[in-house]
């Protein structure tokens, strides 16, 4: 429980970093955090963490409540399922999966706001989305050696 709460505080911290440090395109550091939490503590706990982190993200943006809850919990579900079925988890698999999930996340948010609100991203410059995804991949690459989820995950799955 203490670990879960400290990770939630970390969600606030990365959201602040995103808001303060990055101007323009921003990485999705919460997605990276959800991936590492799932790899470290297992799929079920990861999904729960994804739901809470998504709730915080949606609330901090103050628009629709739900898009990030679904995207982050599904990211945890997918990464947990992949982890269970892959024999060896390494930095390449991790990077590819984070890249894939970033693209799915961006598409989901795009569709979600188009369907469930009067907010449209049709005018949005694609370079912002692409730069954001590249930043997320870079963040996952940088974080991988420090967090090394494989070390702790053996008992979780």
């Amino acid at each position: 429980m203490r670990g879960y709460l400290s990770y939630l505080i970390f969600v606030y911290l990365v959201l602040s970093v995103q808001a303060v440090v990055f101007k323009g395109a921003k990485p999705d550091l919460v997605l990276v955090l959800v991936c590492y939490y799932t790899l470290t503590f297992g799929r079920s706990k990861g999904i729960l963490f994804g739901i809470t982190a998504g709730l915080i993200m949606d609330s901090a943006s103050g628009f629709l409540l739900g898009p990030n809850i679904i995207s982050k919990s599904l990211a945890a579900f997918f990464i947990g399922s992949f982890r269970e079925n892959l024999f060896h988890w390494n930095v390449y698999v991790n990077t590819l999966l984070v890249a894939f999930l970033s693209i799915v996340d961006a598409l989901w948010i795009y569709v979600c706001f188009g369907v469930f609100s009067d907010i449209s991203f049709v005018n949005r410059s694609w370079s912002v989305s692409i730069t954001g995804i590249l930043f997320t991949i870079a963040a996952a690459l940088l974080a991988f050696p420090f967090l090394n989820p494989q070390r702790k995950s053996e008992t979780a799955f």
Binding site: Q18, A19, K23, G24, D28, M57, A60, L64, R124
Partner: protein
Amino acid sequence: MLKKKYVIFAIFLIFVLALLNYQSTQGISPFPKFLLYPLKLLEQGGSAVLRTAGNVVNTYIMIVGKEAENNGLRERIDELEKEKNRFVEIEKENIRLKNILELKSKRPDYITAAVIFSRDPSNWFQVFWINKGKSSGIGKDMVAVTQKGPVGRIDRILDEESSIVLITDVNSSVAVRLQSSRVEGILEGRGDDRCTLKYVSKEIDVKIGEEVVTSGMDNIYPKGLLIGRVTAITKEGGELFQVIEVDPSQDLNVVEEVTILKK
């Protein structure tokens, strides 16, 4: 057991989709205000910690390796440097506040001045949060400006905080006019640091560097504010209109204070 978990997760996802559908028909749910406080505290605390750390590092660099008899003088220089930095900061703040006061005296539609305390953390919206809200007389769709031009319009309002949707946000549309040709168009945000001017006929001769001002036709932004300059023009074959790229009149990433004007 695992299948039961899947079922619960699937039911939860359906519930969230139903919630999204509810919000699309009934309007967005009430904003949980408490979630803003950590962002506010972290931004203010973070700046203070960075300032203090910078001072400590500077002081350390200044002192290490110096002769003992020079320490007193070095410390004095250090103090004077700090004092100088403080004065530079105060001077800059003074200029910004003078600009706000100038705007206040010039504009009869002045409501209040506010400090930006946070930016939207996601990659999707260009939104600022300011430290003034309903209690300061702020209302929806009021306009945030600086001496250099419009910043955006008020969207969400709490008692002590409000959010501003920037002119560069994809949800922003401003009625504008090209200053020399007097042709009107709609300026829309792109989600990065530029805007696109739409609905200007291909027949119109637009020049790079031409100034774009608000036309006041949207009943939100006051007429005649300089909003940006033309940086690129695209005329595609089958299209009726040309697509004009506009660079905002100010770098919105470095705006610290804004003045709120009546709608």
